[in-house]
Amino acid sequence: MFMKLVEKDERRKSLSAMAGYLNTSFMISTIDTEYLVNIEKGMVTSVQEGPFIMPSYVFKLTASKDEWLKFLQPIPLPGSHDIIALLRRKVMQFDGDLHPLMSHLLYFKLLLASLRPTEVKSEN
């Protein structure tokens, strides 16, 4: 579901300009499955799919697979179009040290939105 984040297409390359000093690891959880994402200088350098024995990461975003799928629709419906919208509906949880996330909030929003099939044209 999130393995494509490591693919370096033009969108993701341009996003790295927004996060040139960002080096972090974060976990995306669909509750059933976990994905460990590593970022160096604003570029995703690896995505590993769990299960993990002792994963090390800075923060975690958790929502059900169903909610993630709604978020990843080409044009998501109201309430599913943004990670804070999911937070507002209490179907997503942010855990851990949120500093990398909140200090690069737009970057992470656009990074996740880059997985939407037709989001290519409407996002930076």
Partner: protein, 279 residues
Amino acid sequence: MKIEKEPITGHYGKFEIEGISNRIYWEEAGEGIPLVCLHTAGSDGRQYRALLNDKKILKKYRVIVFDMPWHGKSSPPENSSIGNYKLSTDLYISQILSFIDGLELVKPVVMGCSIGGRIILHLAIHFPEKFRALIGLQSAGHLDPYYDINWLHRQDVHGGEVCGGIAYGLMAPTSPEKEKFETMWHYMQGGPGVFKGDLFFYKYDGNIGNEIKKIDNSKCPIYLLTGEYDYSATPEETKILADTIGIKMVKMKNVGHFPMSENPEEFLKYLYPVLDKIS
């Protein structure tokens, strides 16, 4: 080279608000019924550029948009310091009334979005006789915090980056990217702690409970319009408000929290009938 000159004029003036002198910036265009527009928390009057340039509206309305103190080109009040800004209900009302009195506007229409959509409810409760009509965009009676607003003002996080990131998500994915970018840019240009200070009103001090029942639509007509992609003030919350007041609300398709700036073309389709009715 010929430029495309806009009809907007900008002005500065000193207004006394709660006994303190405030240097306020405002823009206006058009002639006729005064239409005072209130920007959202953490942004400024540039959000209403489309209205200030709309020939159809300017034929009947004098559109006036001021930057609140601390916002846009308005200065912070005298003797201010960073980190102590908090917008209260009383202060917000004083700003609006001082501005209207200062410009000697008689029975203006006031339209506000988000915090502006909240304050028009307070105006409807306490000063209905002063207004020809009130228009609430993204109005909700109250809002419980759903994220930690302390992130909006921390010295180890760039305020422009985080405020822009918050604002971006409140817009519809279907709104034009260039308008979304500019709407976000206004947020990125806000001063430290200003967005957070505004949200003190939006999430705490300005919450309205049963007082909503005091609104008498016959004393001053109220119109409520809310974008479907807004998860801050949702259409469902506006509907509860409208039902309590006993009016109909309009749910706007394909727009989010900033209808007038994120997708003006779509927004104006909904606003024209309201302005026609008021005039």
